[in-house]
């Protein structure tokens, strides 16, 4: 095992540090809160000669990802960072990156989308592009953001995957919070991530290829099916890279984290920093003998449906916690995935969706306990009640008890 170094960094600095250690070929950037510090730190590394990355300041997020697409197609390792409206503005080219099978790594400090205009955290931005073909990996804290980033390039560059990867952290809550972190040695990181040696690329003169050509009806569907297969293959790649990461650096990762789920009758399915807060509530309720647990989703794309259904199959009641509003009028995106994952279980748990934490609305240990209390009522009465509701808002509606 290689020795790591204790430090204290914000999520943004942790991600920037991982980028410095990897020393990619190209970083194309356009700033937006709360991800701005990532290129800001990186610009300092460039100025200090700590990296030899081509650092390109462009005029928009559409352009920053387009520059990455060009660089990656030419055989380079290309990265960027963004948030909120920046990710929305990138939307068109996200699909281009994924369908051209270019393993760009994009750091996203997740922030609400307008409107009203808001700079704080929720998953409106990343969830709005969940079907773009990017792999999406989410972090609970700065350590996980760093560790996920170290794994991202290898996952995306796996030959039968070749897909871009979004490394998501919670805006402000993670991006701007200073916390302890274990940093790995620069050389150890470089050895773990390795060199990028694509088999084929635009500028390979022995085997020139077209990138992003028109796909007529006789070809379009084949390309899409191949891309869907690549996303399935990503599941194995994610676990393989996680296993090697654990062997190398000692920290364990999977599709999701099961927290006190062994005999749990009531469970939350939750993502990001709120999962950490909810763990403290699970601990307190467990001390009172309550059989509660939670599942923290780390990988949202590809969605680990079979594994999640297996982990939830013995629960009596499950609350899925959605930190984005999909306006489907029947629940958020995490609920849609979780419910469809469980649809073929013999005994499907009672399941509710709670949309919470929008635009930085705080979520506390006491809030978590209120959700578990609602699940207890569902278990006792056998009545699910309203399947889809909002939590934490003022005035508009009463919170469902």
């Amino acid at each position: 095992m290689i020795m790591s170094k204790r430090d204290r960094l914000s999520g943004n600095e942790a991600i920037a540090t991982a980028m410095r250690q990897i020393n990619p070929d190209v970083f194309a950037m356009f700033p937006i809160t709360p991800s701005t510090e990532i290129p800001q730190y990186f610009a300092q590394y460039v100025a200090d000669g700590k990296v030899d990355t081509e650092f390109i300041c462009v005029e928009s997020e559409h352009s920053s990802l387009s520059a990455c697409i060009g660089a990656e197609a030419a055989g380079c390792r290309a990265i960027s960072a963004t948030s909120s409206a920046g990710l929305a503005y990138m939307s068109e080219v996200l699909y281009v990156a994924a369908s051209c099978r270019l393993p760009i790594v994009l750091a996203v400090a997740c922030r609400a989308l307008t409107g009203p205009i808001n700079i704080n955290h929720d998953y409106s931005d990343s969830m709005s592009v969940r079907d773009s073909g990017f792999i999406q990996i989410y972090a609970e804290n700065n350590q996980e953001a760093y560790d996920n980033y170290l794994q991202a390039h290898r996952i995306g560059e796996t030959p039968d995957v070749r897909l871009p990867v979004m490394i998501c952290e919670d805006g402000f809550i993670t991006s701007h919070a200073l916390e302890n972190i274990e940093l790995e040695d620069d050389d150890a990181v470089k050895a773990f991530v390795g060199e990028y040696k694509p088999e084929n690329y635009l500028l390979k003169h022995e085997n020139p290829l077209a990138v992003g050509p028109y796909g007529t009806s006789p070809f379009y569907m084949e390309a899409r099916v191949a891309q869907a297969e690549a996303m399935k293959n990503a599941k194995r790649a994610i676990l393989d890279v996680a296993a090697d990461f654990e062997k190398t650096f000692g920290r364990k990762y999977g599709f999701f984290e099961e927290y006190k789920m062994e005999d749990a009758e009531r469970a939350l399915v939750i993502m990001g920093s709120s999962a950490g807060t909810a763990k403290a509530a699970v601990d307190e309720l467990r001390e009172n003998g309550e059989k509660v647990g939670l599942i923290k989703i780390r990988v949202f794309r590809p969605f680990p449906g079979e594994e999640l259904a297996e982990a939830l199959k013995n629960c009596k009641a499950v609350a899925v916690m959605d930190k984005s509003e999909g306006f489907s009028s029947m629940g958020g995106p995490l609920f849609a995935e979780t419910a469809s994952a469980c649809v073929n279980l013999e005994n499907i748990p009672k399941m509710i969706d709670i949309v919470y934490g929008l635009g930085g609305r705080d979520f506390t240990v006491d809030h978590t306990k209120r959700v578990f209390a609602r699940l207890e009522k569902i278990v006792k009465t056998g009545e699910t009640g309203p399947v889809y509701s909002h939590f934490g808002q003022r005035d508009l509606r009463e919170e469902v008890q």
């Binding site: 204290r8 700079i119 402000f172 919070a177 916390e179 807060t277 705080d362």
Partner: protein, 191 residues
């Protein structure tokens, strides 16, 4: 986590409440603790009330919500006492530390009946004396350490010398001024 100390900072945008919270986390980190320092932003404008938070403990804390029941509250700008409920949720066995030249008992009437300990520190005065400018967050930081003992005061001063020497490697003349601010504030904070 029984040994966790939670601190809430109130300031105005531009006064350094967030920086003070970061420095406190740094000091506690150097003393071997697990730390959190995070800001809560309202409207982004200079002079608007802002809040920053610290959690300090011997084990990693997984809670990432704001702090509603702090052990200590630090007020970097005393004009906030009229507009912000700074003692909201503040534990009675904790304390509030206010940047003010006034005696603590003069400020008690503005604290919504808070029964716990009240401290003041003339942070602006100390900062002007040693740094020649209004940087109240440095003396406030020392006052918070002196009152809360969230870091051993002597170890704190030693670590801050190291931290400032590193931070101000290009302008060593400000290191001594900052350290004098800290030392004075620890002596002059009054109950």
């Amino acid at each position: 986590m029984s040994d966790m100390i939670e601190i809430r900072w109130h300031g105005r945008g531009g006064q350094g409440a967030k920086t003070a919270s970061l420095l406190l986390a740094d000091a506690a980190f150097m003393a071997g603790q697990y730390v959190q320092s995070f800001p809560e932003y309202g409207p982004e404008r200079s002079g608007a009330p802002i809040t920053a938070y610290n959690r300090i403990s011997s084990e990693r804390c997984s809670i990432h919500s704001n702090i509603y029941y702090p052990d200590y509250v630090a007020v970097v700008d005393e004009t906030l006492l009229e507009s912000v409920d700074v003692t909201s949720g503040l534990k009675e066995d904790g304390a509030i530390i206010i940047n003010s030249e006034k005696d603590p008992k003069e400020l008690r009437p503005y604290l919504n009946g808070y029964k716990g300990r009240v401290f003041t520190i003339a942070a602006g005065h100390i900062s002007r004396k040693h740094l020649g400018a209004y940087f109240p967050n440095t003396p406030m930081l020392a006052a918070v350490v002196a009152v809360s003992k969230c870091v051993d005061p002597e170890e704190f001063l030693k670590n801050m010398r190291e931290s400032y020497s590193h931070k101000f490697a290009n302008k060593p003349q400000v290191v001594e001024g900052n350290l004098k601010c800290l030392a004075d504030a620890m002596k002059e904070v009054r109950e």
